[in-house]
């Protein structure tokens, strides 16, 4: 099944084209846009972007799989990404990951059966002064404790 950007998505894509001297530079922003519009970067989205940019799907796939933020498979409604790097680890991130894993009943990389949460361990989020940190979709949550992480996850609709 083929996919296409919405009207606003298409307008954003056209605007992006004006911001670079080379059309291929829009590939990363176009992949972000595809993920926003389609939920993840599907095979169809890759073919679609290749067509828009005028290159091969193989080239787009090579780019999409190089970067960790492009999800080549669907993720849950909330993508719970907990930092496991050094400053967060020193302040208990390992324990938090174990706690959330138990709480949601999934291991890192898995999605809950109801499709609400995908749990992930990620590398440094660049917020080490407020460690431990997690990113849920677009939002950072900082200075996490077991209590605050429970409150945040329990309050997500």
């Amino acid at each position: 099944m083929s996919v296409a950007f919405s009207e606003t998505g298409r307008a954003e894509f056209e605007r992006l084209l004006t911001r670079y001297p080379d059309g291929k530079a829009v590939i990363l922003p176009a992949l972000h846009l595809a993920q926003k519009e389609f939920g993840y970067v599907s095979d169809e989205a890759i073919v679609y972007i290749a067509g828009l940019v005028g290159t091969s799907p193989a080239e787009i796939e090579g780019i999409a799989t190089f970067y960790t933020m492009y999800n080549r498979k669907p993720v849950g409604k909330y993508h719970v990404q907990i930092c496991r790097n050094i400053s967060c680890s020193l302040l208990g991130a390992e324990h938090l990951i174990e706690h959330v894993s138990k709480k949601l009943g999934v291991r890192p990389g898995e999605t809950t059966p109801d499709g609400k949460f995908t749990l992930a361990k990620v590398e440094c989020l660049g917020s080490c002064g407020t460690a431990p940190v997690m990113q849920v979709n677009d939002e950072y949550h900082e200075n996490l404790t077991v209590e605050s992480i429970d409150r945040i996850l329990d309050n997500l609709p």
């Binding site: 530079a25 590939i27 992949l31 780019i63 050094i86 680890s89 590398e123 440094c124 660049g126 002064g129």
Partner: protein
């Protein structure tokens, strides 16, 4: 102490154009337009401004590498990829003072005779990218960006380009490839970006903090900026302190601040009254220090003298009771994950480091594993296109050199004496 960047950061409104201008924002740009590009570059050279991204290269000298002939358009790319573990200062500039960056870009582009600039912001910084985008929109609306800026005849377009999750893109040639819509593979040099960079054009890549310092330098003069720091290290630095301290956060200090003073005085000492075990002084790639080594000036040369680096200004504080093998294992997982896979010594080497350090921590270390790690390090250091392999080697070697007994004990006892957790 005089502050260059953070004076108004407590004011939430400072990120808006009107408040920024109330505090004198964009006056430096007006002053710059009355100067020649060469005079501005001269002030930056006098300022002893060293690149704040980690390598510490003198910014004015870097600018001087652009070819003299103006037949090809040149561009300025801002490195806002901030991915070095322990580093979180550029995020503070982008959220608290985005106009410092925008004004710095306009002045710098005028000095470099560049008419296009991209700000490459790491993909996870979605909120930060939005705030910078808003600042750019305000600058266009106020006539500080676009065509014929302030009637000077100078044109400039600035665009935010978001990354998508790859530590390697903080390396400038990798960042350029990523900006061009490719995988973030570092390029062989030469040619250097100053002659063939983004889109084949002469390109300067500078860190966010480096460029945010430019308006102050233009306003107060390079020599005044230089005097805020120490010899060869002009100005102030934003230093992020994280890990086990009572007051973690980003601080602005003279470039010659004492490292021990940062930790014990400004950051409030070690959390829970514990003793200090180790300090990773300038981001996760910089060689670790023991507590008896930290009474040192944080400037680039003094840190080099004791075999480490001020790097990207990320001080990571490790308390007594931490298993150093486990800490190194966390870092080796990171570098193995982030190796781009282009060069064999790095792709294979980071994988082996992760595996061997991981098995030592898991109580399955073998006789000779420590020597094997050191041998691997020798075969990685300096043998790759970019410094990611070196970045993995420096912590591996220094953790072993300075905490060897912990590695030996893990192997001898076939278990982690700290119980396999932090």
């Amino acid at each position: 102490m005089e502050k260059v960047l953070t004076t108004h950061f407590a004011n939430e409104r400072y990120r808006r154009m009107d408040t920024y201008r109330q505090y004198g924002g964009y006056e430096a740009l007006k002053k710059a337009f009355a100067m020649t590009p060469e005079a501005i570059i001269d002030e930056v050279k006098k300022a002893n401004l060293r690149g704040r991204g980690g390598a510490g290269f003198p910014a004015g000298v870097k600018w001087g590498f652009l070819p003299k002939d103006l037949s090809r358009p040149r561009v300025l790319v801002i490195n806002a990829d901030e991915g070095e573990p322990g580093t979180f200062k550029d995020r503070v500039i982008m959220t608290r003072g985005p106009h410092l960056l925008v004004e710095g870009i306009v002045i710098s582009c005028f000095a470099l005779r560049a008419h296009a600039s991209w700000i490459y912001i790491r993909g996870e910084f979605i909120r930060e990218a939005r705030i910078v985008d808003e600042a750019i929109a305000e600058a266009y609306a106020a006539g500080f960006l676009g065509k014929n800026i302030l009637g000077s005849g100078f044109d400039l377009d600035v665009t935010v380009h978001r990354g998508a999750g790859a530590y390697i893109c903080g390396e400038e040639t990798s960042l350029i490839n990523s900006l061009e819509g490719k995988r973030g593979w570092p390029r062989l040099k030469p040619p250097f970006p100053a002659s063939v960079g983004a889109f084949g054009l002469p390109t300067i890549v500078n860190n966010v903090e480096t460029i945010a310092d430019i308006p102050w330098i233009v306003t107060h003069g390079g020599e005044t900026f230089a005097a805020l720091g120490v010899e060869k290290n002009g100005g102030t630095r934003l230093i992020g302190v994280s890990g086990a301290v009572n007051r973690p956060g980003v601080y602005e200090f003279s470039a010659g601040v004492n490292l021990k003073d940062i930790i014990y005085n400004h950051a409030g000492g070690i959390k829970d009254g514990k003793a200090l075990k180790a300090v990773i002084p300038g981001g996760s790639s910089t060689p670790v220090l023991r507590p008896d080594e930290i009474d040192v000036s944080y400037d680039i040369e003094s840190m080099a003298k004791i075999g480490t680096m001020a790097g990207s200004g990320g001080v990571i504080v490790i308390p007594e009771g931490t298993c150093m093998v486990r800490a190194l294992s966390v870092l080796m997982n990171f570098y193995a994950h982030e190796s781009c896979g282009q060069c064999t010594p790095c792709r294979e080497g980071t994988g082996w480091l992760k595996k061997i350090v991981g098995r030592i921590e898991a109580g399955k270390g073998r006789e000779g594993d420590v020597e094997l790690i050191l041998d691997l390090c020798d075969n990685m250091m300096g043998r790759t296109i970019c410094p990611l392999a070196d970045a993995a080697v420096m912590p591996a070697q220094s953790f072993i050199w300075k905490f060897r007994e912990e590695f030996d004990r893990h192997i001898g006892e076939q278990k982690c004496p700290y119980g396999n957790r932090f």
